[in-house]
């Protein structure tokens, strides 16, 4: 995907900037972008190592089995192909828990660990497996109980009721996740059919 999208983005924006005399803006944004990518990676390096370590402790204790028991029906329905892969199941449950609690910083490392485990049993290593796609879609839908970032922004802008958005966010995020899961399930079915014939 990015092999096509990325060059298109670059070519369009660079030529448009030159054409519209916006080169100075473009020039400074190149360095700003690289800098923010580096900053993000350094911040993420810390949280990544922290949560990879914590999940490793968790997956060596029985707490993970308890969480799994609760989430099992959901995981079975969403990831029917990894019944045998307990390690991936563990990591996906922890990723879900982190997402639901609104711990975005923790959810990403846990999700990426799950990707690693899913890749190990992926039949075609160059293509996303069905389970990987489901995991990514779940993470882009961001189901969370408390949308912390936006509440913080709202209270910094002196909202009379910063938390009033929680309920609407629940409705929107559940609709988004349901739509994502549904489309993914349908497309998985469709692509499986295509392979058989």
């Amino acid at each position: 995907m990015l092999n096509i999208v990325w060059p298109i983005f670059i070519i369009i924006s660079f030529s448009y900037a030159i054409f519209s005399g916006n080169v100075q803006n473009l020039n400074s944004s190149i360095f700003e972008s690289i800098e923010s990518a580096v900053n993000l990676s350094i911040t993420m390096l810390g949280t990544m190592c922290l949560w990879s370590g914590i999940i490793n402790i968790a997956s060596n204790t029985s707490i993970i089995q308890k969480i799994n028991k609760i989430l099992k029906p959901i995981i079975r329905f969403l990831f029917p192909e990894i019944k045998e892969n307990i390690k991936a199941q563990n990591e996906i449950s922890m990723n879900m828990v982190a997402n639901i609690l609104g711990l975005g910083n923790a959810a990403t490392p846990l999700g990426l660990k799950a990707m690693e485990s899913l890749q190990k049993e992926n039949r075609n290593k160059k293509e996303l497996s069905n389970s990987m796609i489901m995991l990514i879609v779940l993470n882009t839908a961001s189901i969370q109980i408390i949308p912390t970032t936006i509440i913080a922004i709202r209270s910094s802008l002196q909202s009379a009721n910063p938390t009033s958005i929680i309920f609407p966010v629940w409705i929107a995020t559940i609709c988004a996740a349901t739509a994502g899961i549904l489309v993914t399930k349908i497309l998985i079915k469709y692509s499986n059919k295509g392979k058989k014939t």
Partner: protein, 176 residues
């Protein structure tokens, strides 16, 4: 109310770490060794995704600074007007899946301009709370396992985003 929620969300992370560490101790694992072993994996994952981040941030940053995004917004405006989508929200709806930092900037801007508790301000807040930076998530997750063929993940994730954004708008209209 806000104090309670702040307290709960501040408590969530420390509490999880505490519970896991206590569990490890009770079940007599050598938890520091286990922690270190796991933390090493974190470095590998970051090294895998770092080049992707540079490339992606460059592309999105230049799209915005060159003014291409503004053209796209102008182009889409009449279409979205047809379905009665509020045009004030549109820049946010378009940027939300592509760039996390610029969508936060735009959402803050919208809330300042129209009032944080106005209908438009609420819509911007709910969209921010209910959706994610889809393109970034897909790129980071795929590149962490060095996969380039992403099949239909973009379609599925963008459908979720569109449904999330439209629901946000509808719910806020309904509430006020």
């Amino acid at each position: 109310m806000i104090e309670v929620i702040n307290f709960v969300s501040n408590l969530a992370m420390p509490l999880i770490i505490l519970i896991i560490v206590i569990y490890g101790l009770v079940e007599k694992k050598e938890i520091f060794d286990v922690f270190i072993e796991g933390a090493k994996d974190g470095i590998k994952i970051i090294i895998n995704i770092f080049p992707t981040l540079i490339g992606l941030f460059l592309a999105v940053g230049t799209l915005r600074s060159s003014g291409v995004i503004d053209i796209v917004i102008n182009f889409l405006e009449p279409i979205l007007n047809l379905i009665n989508f509020p045009s004030e929200i549109m820049p946010l709806a378009i940027l939300r899946p592509i760039s996390g930092s610029s969508s936060i900037a735009i959402a803050t801007d919208i809330m300042k301009q129209f009032g944080v508790d106005s209908q438009i301000g609420m819509m911007a807040s709910v969209i921010m709370g209910a959706t994610e930076t889809t393109l970034y998530t897909i790129a980071v997750y795929s590149s962490s396992v060095k996969i380039k063929k992403t099949r239909f993940v973009l379609i599925a994730a963008l459908t979720a985003d569109i449904v999330g954004i439209i629901t946000s708008v509808v719910v806020c209209r309904f509430l006020s």
